[in-house]
């Protein structure tokens, strides 16, 4: 099941010309145990692609199969339920907060999907615990907390719907390094403990290399690479994607060139550090 794209195209209608945001996209994302990063330049169609995953946009060509529901839907078919199953966190999600209290705002999603007040409250509390919002904040206004906390509340608002697949559009944008790390840890735990599939758009190659298992590279509405991250960073034509290498790999390549340290790919800073310590002992 999961999400399948079959030859999908999407056109934005302009005033005089139509503009292809996606074309010929084929893609498979499993229902569980996937951690996919989508990377590419601004305007390469990443956001358009992920908005198809919960039926916010409907393909103008081809079809998308989201957990068994074919899009575009036939007449009278309801698609709203897909948004509960595929949770989409937008860029700067803190702007979508509106309720009087934090806990009410987190409850908004579940209540829209026919949960009773008590169920919604329970789900909201669970989601708030996951993102690390303390109970004493529950009754505060969501407009009186810090930006990082607002982001967590917004993410909790999506998690409270208990989606099967979580789609994140640049979740760490505009956060400080610690906020970034804390937020990514939440998603990593969700992936490892609850085996949820996670789709992540990011411009930060360090995050991509540390957390993702599979990487999709987009360029001008096409998928130009889809595979394991190890294969991407060791790709013989890596330059052709116009991407930057993640910092640990940059350091390792530099050290190989300067002091002849044997190159061995490490994808996050912790394993880089232990590798360097090991090399130091020898």
């Amino acid at each position: 099941m999961g999400i399948q794209f079959k030859d999908v195209g999407y056109q934005y209608k302009g005033i005089k010309v139509n503009y292809d945001a996606l074309s010929g996209v084929n893609l498979n994302i499993a229902e569980a145990d996937e951690f996919v990063a989508i990377i590419g330049h601004t305007g390469s169609g990443k956001s358009t692609l992920v908005q198809h995953m919960n039926a916010l946009l409907l393909p103008t060509q081809g079809e998308v199969n989201v957990l068994g529901q074919i899009l575009p839907p036939r007449k009278k078919e309801k698609i709203n339920h897909l948004r509960q199953k595929v949770g989409l966190v937008f860029q700067f999600p803190e702007y979508q907060l509106f309720e009087e209290t934090i806990i009410k705002d987190i409850m908004f999603g579940p209540k829209n999907f026919k949960s009773t007040e008590e169920e919604a409250l329970e789900k909201a509390k669970k989601a708030a615990t996951i993102v690390g919002i303390l109970p004493e904040l529950y009754e505060q206004s969501p407009f009186r907390i810090s930006g990082g906390q607002m982001r967590r509340v917004a993410v909790a608002g999506i998690l409270a719907m208990e989606p099967k697949i979580l789609v994140l559009d640049e979740p760490t944008r505009g956060l400080d390094p610690k906020g970034r790390k804390d937020l990514m840890k939440i998603f990593k735990d969700l992936h490892e403990i609850e085996h949820k599939s996670i789709v992540l758009i990011s411009h930060d190659m360090d995050i991509v290399s540390e957390y993702a298992k599979r990487v999709i590279v987009m360029d001008k509405g096409h998928i130009v690479f889809d595979g394991k991250k190890e294969d991407l960073f060791e790709h013989p034509n890596f330059e052709s994607f116009h991407l930057e290498l993640p910092t640990p790999l940059k350091i390792l390549k530099h050290l190989e060139k300067e002091i002849g340290l044997p190159y061995e790919p490490k994808y996050d800073f912790d394993s880089l550090l232990s590798y360097l310590k090991e090399a130091n002992h020898e």
Partner: protein, 326 residues
Amino acid sequence: MNNVTIGQYIAGDSWLHKLDPRIKLFSLVILLVATFLIPVSSDLTPLFSMIVLLVLVIGLTISSKVPLKKVLNGLKPIVFLLTFTFVIQLFYVKTGQMVAGPFDMYISVTSIAAIILFLVFYNFTKKYIKFRILYFFLAVFIVFFLQAILPYVELTSYTIEIYDQGLLRAGFIFLRITNVIILTSLLTFTTMTTDLNYGIEALLKPLKIVKVPVDMIAMMLSLTLRYIPTLLIETEKIMKAQASRGVDFKESTFKEKISQIISLLIPVFVISFKRSEDLGNAMEVRGYVIGAKRTRIDEYIISLKDILTIIIATLVLALVIYLRVI
């Protein structure tokens, strides 16, 4: 969201785009005055001059290379108003010759039932019709038609007589509103907000003598126009974000709709306050002081083309006045 046409600028390089904004604005005012000076009457001359004016305006649209369809889309929000005035004029003017009728209209149990049934049918089918505005006109006609043919179980009745004067007046007002809408939307389509700002400022300059803060008003106007599309984009984003949280703006009941509107309004308010604060700061940082003397990066020079335009516009106005006087 895309059918809001106010404040949208369509890039292009036609002569209308290049016209001096002061001249463009002034000519617009002249043509609008001319449109309103043509007397509402059922004589053929005013009607004929109105049609000529409309042809002129459509010609302008075509020469500006703005898609005509886009301009006509601006009429959509007022279709109801147009139809309403048309029907009122048609039924209440009772001079001249009777061209049709008298029709006896019956408000009866059967006709009310038929109308309700028809309206339900109309609401269901209108989604699938391509020419929705024509379909709307047809629906209005059918509502009256049903009243004429179903006299059974009568409650009350009235007569409709259609006179040629009424028909002419109704058509006349219809044309006038269409003309005004096309003219004004043509201005925003072909003028960048900075140019528009300059045009307004220049035209209001005489008011400075009586201490009206003209530059402030012009700046406020242009900022407002500038932020309409931006706010629409933000609204669309918030709509999508809330849709991801299960708000369905299509498949919901009225009670649900209220809380959904709130979930949209509050974030949009918060964003617009934040944006205006940022904008204010950015303007101050770059040295904007209210009331201070400012220079421009572009100098506007009036060319022959501009003079010709204003002469033609004035001629149109003069002709209209002349026709009115004789």
